[in-house]
């Protein structure tokens, strides 16, 4: 819509010619200028500029939908009413059915906590037929750190859905639907994304997993603000990809330690010197999500995976529908399972905090259990 050509807009001949003569060929170029700038450039009066702009705007502006028709459309046309069930009952209930279609869902947590395990389980689920709770389609898995293990994937499949995976032909069919890409640089990743966008619909891709987003930038030797700008095109692109294809997109993110450069207050908070000021609470390993605040705004749902006092939790830190709940989980041979479907509600910004206590003991134990 934005790249609409002026020649395609039904404007009066005289003004259309003037636009062409001044080399303004797309709607984007015309709309980026103010009314007075256009008057100067085109040498026409205000009323003509206004009427031309309003005609161009009317064509370029998207049409509306009432919220009711949006809801009906989603409920009728989409599997599971627009939410992909993860199989973790408590989490699905909190998220109003599961991982939402059309937007980004982020999994963030320290290394070894279980992000990739959850991604493997979700990929497997998505490939299954709909009567098994799947999306009956292909999954594109972008594996940046080479953590994808097909052996582990099949183990999860065998333990969770033995009736399908015991038959070699079926196992091959399901595993064959998961396409793994291994970009070695940011530019390769960019190319893959563009390729994916083109072929998404005809290849029946029903889910996209990017594991992990942070690893793509950490190899690029840039710090802080520059890192955010590097990714801003990708953020926009992935969001629009998710949007127009209406598929769930799961992205994993790493953690880093909190440093002095991280801001947590506004200028008006700093000026007030009374008891209501927040004292930053320090945990024994004070971690925050990588990729910055711009990324945090761009994801719609953020699931934090952490370890506290030796127990792992999956927390819904940001969600348009769910309250801030934390569910204890553990990693089993059949993937991830919740120890309790009743989440604990956490107050305040603690839902966003990422703990890593007693984690190392757990991960070693877990690995032995999986052999």
């Amino acid at each position: 819509m934005a790249n609409k050509l002026i020649s395609e807009v039904p404007l009066p001949k005289s003004i259309a010619n003037v636009f062409a003569a001044r080399n303004i060929s797309t709607a984007k170029e015309a709309l980026s200028l103010t009314e007075f700038e256009l008057m100067e450039l085109l040498d026409v009066g205000l009323t003509e500029v206004r009427s031309a702009l309003s005609q161009i705007s009317e064509i370029v502006a998207p049409t509306y939908q009432t919220a009711l028709s949006l809801m009906e459309e989603r409920f009728q046309n989409e599997h599971f009413r627009g939410h992909f069930p993860t199989g973790l009952k408590g989490l699905d209930a909190a998220l109003c059915g599961g991982i939402p279609f059309g937007v980004l869902t982020e999994l963030v947590g320290p290394a070894g906590i279980g992000k990739t395990q959850l991604c493997l389980k979700l990929s497997l689920l998505a490939s299954l037929p709909t009567n098994y709770g799947g999306l009956d389609g292909r999954v594109i898995y972008i594996d940046v750190e080479s953590k994808f293990s097909s052996r582990r994937l099949l183990e999860i499949g065998l333990r969770s859905f033995p009736e399908i995976f015991q038959m070699k032909a079926m196992a091959q069919e399901m595993a064959g639907r998961i396409l793994v890409l291994r970009p070695t640089s940011l530019s390769e990743f960019t190319q893959s994304l563009e390729q994916i966008k083109v072929s998404l619909l005809q290849n029946q891709v029903k889910m996209l997993v990017i594991d992990s987003m942070a690893a793509l930038v950490s190899g690029e030797h840039e710090q802080g603000i520059c890192r955010q700008q590097t990714l801003s095109w990708h953020i926009s692109f992935i969001k629009s990809l998710a949007e127009f294809s209406r598929i769930p997109v799961v992205v994993t993110n790493q953690v880093r330690s909190h440093n002095h450069d991280d801001a947590s207050r506004y200028s008006f908070q700093v000026q007030r010197r009374d008891g209501t000021m927040e004292i930053p609470i320090r945990y024994d390993s004070h971690l925050i999500a990588a990729l910055g605040i711009h990324w945090a705004h761009a994801v719609t749902t953020r699931l934090v995976l952490e370890a506290k006092s030796g127990q792992r939790f999956i927390k819904v830190a940001k969600s348009p529908i769910s309250p801030p709940l934390a569910f204890p989980f553990h990693i089993t041979s059949s993937g991830i399972s919740l120890l309790s479907d009743d989440g604990m509600e956490l107050m305040g910004p603690e839902i966003n905090a990422i703990h890593c206590q007693g984690h190392n003991e757990i991960s070693n134990f877990g690995r032995e259990g999986l052999q």
Partner: protein, 346 residues
């Protein structure tokens, strides 16, 4: 040089000046055919120039006391307008209190904060609350929700609508004092039907839509609020030319202000927080830069204070700087439940 202020094209202006017409009064006694002959332009064009000139002079004034300056309104008349200002409740009485009753109509309010603080939740609550019927102190209006990020979730809007209707039934019950379950004839689906949802995918579409809103709202006169969620997203990338971004943003803000005044509706712009380096340290601030922070009439910052969500009036022509706690519940935005909540005046 009054001729410079006329909304006519550069070449017409040039012709006027070279023909010796440098002030508006010099044009007042001319007829279109005389002017056409002098400037060597068509009579229709001359008519256009004269019309622009007389419009600037403001031949007609509605208020006799304003014949001194055209288009001006006396402060006394404005006081009457301000007192009859309508508000949209946020469903949190504390928040409404510091806002002077709620989100003001005829004004642009910017609301910003960090991710997860509740901006979209507040936006959805306002889109529902504008529809509260007159009998319950509301505007009986419709809402336009412009979604630039895909944050709008219909199921959540349904939940908020449902809770709003339940609250109204509850209120009705107390009002009637007969302690019976009082059913309102509104269903959540009706509320959803009155939210006009637009999905924007680029800044060009954003500008085009805001240009188009004038025509749209003329055709749907009961729209009383326009929520843009968020105004920032498409302007944080794609722009290498920051000066262009500032010009485009201020043009957009101006159009929104005109819409607010012309149709007496409220405009709510949701903004994101970013990290700014000031005074030797990094602090949180709202995105889009310093020049943008001047353009909106009212600015509210949502932030965390301890375990509570707070709203702070950062900028307002008529309200005191104050902050109040609020919470996001399953029913929507409500008062904070903590027992030691208080409104902090600056």
């Amino acid at each position: 040089m009054e001729i410079w202020r006329l909304p006519i094209s550069a070449s017409q202006r040039g012709k006027l000046i070279s023909a010796g017409y440098t002030s508006l009064s010099s044009l007042s006694s001319l007829s279109p055919s005389d002017l056409a002959r002098e400037l060597k332009v068509s009579e229709a064009e001359a008519m256009g120039i004269l019309k622009a000139a007389s419009h600037s002079r403001g031949a007609e004034t509605s208020n006799a006391s304003c014949s001194i300056l055209d288009g001006a309104q006396s402060a006394w008349d404005m006081l009457h307008d301000e007192e009859s200002l309508i508000h949209i409740t946020t469903s949190s009485a504390d928040l409404d209190n510091i806002l002077g009753g709620g989100i003001h109509c005829k004004e642009v309010t910017e609301i910003g904060g960090v991710p997860g603080i509740g901006k979209t939740q507040l936006g959805m609550q306002i889109a529902v609350n504008v529809q509260i019927p007159h009998d319950f102190g509301g505007l009986s209006g419709k809402a336009i929700y412009i979604d630039t990020e895909g944050s709008f979730m219909v199921e959540r809007a349904f939940q908020i609508a449902e809770a709003c209707i339940e609250d109204m039934s509850e209120y009705n019950r107390f009002l009637r004092k007969d302690f019976q379950e009082c059913k309102i004839n509104m269903k959540p689906e009706d509320i959803l039907e009155n939210i006009f949802y637009f999905r924007i995918c680029s800044y060009t579409e954003q500008i085009a839509l805001i240009n188009y809103l004038d025509k749209f709202i003329s055709e749907h006169k009961d729209v009383k609020v326009v929520v843009v969620d968020s105004v920032t997203f498409h302007f944080r990338q794609d722009f290498d030319d920051m000066a262009l971004r500032t010009r485009v943003l201020s043009g957009m803000a101006l159009k929104l202000m005109n819409l607010a005044k012309k149709f007496s509706l409220a405009v709510v712009l949701l903004n994101q927080a970013t990290i700014k380096h000031t005074e030797g340290s990094f602090q949180l601030a709202l995105a889009l830069g310093d020049s943008w922070s001047h353009t909106c009439t009212n600015r509210i910052v949502l932030y965390w204070n301890g375990n509570e969500r707070y709203a702070y009036i950062d900028k307002s022509p008529s309200l005191r700087s104050a902050s109040a706690a609020y919470s996001v519940t399953a029913r929507g935005i409500r008062n904070s439940s903590s027992s030691c909540k208080r409104i902090k005046m600056m």
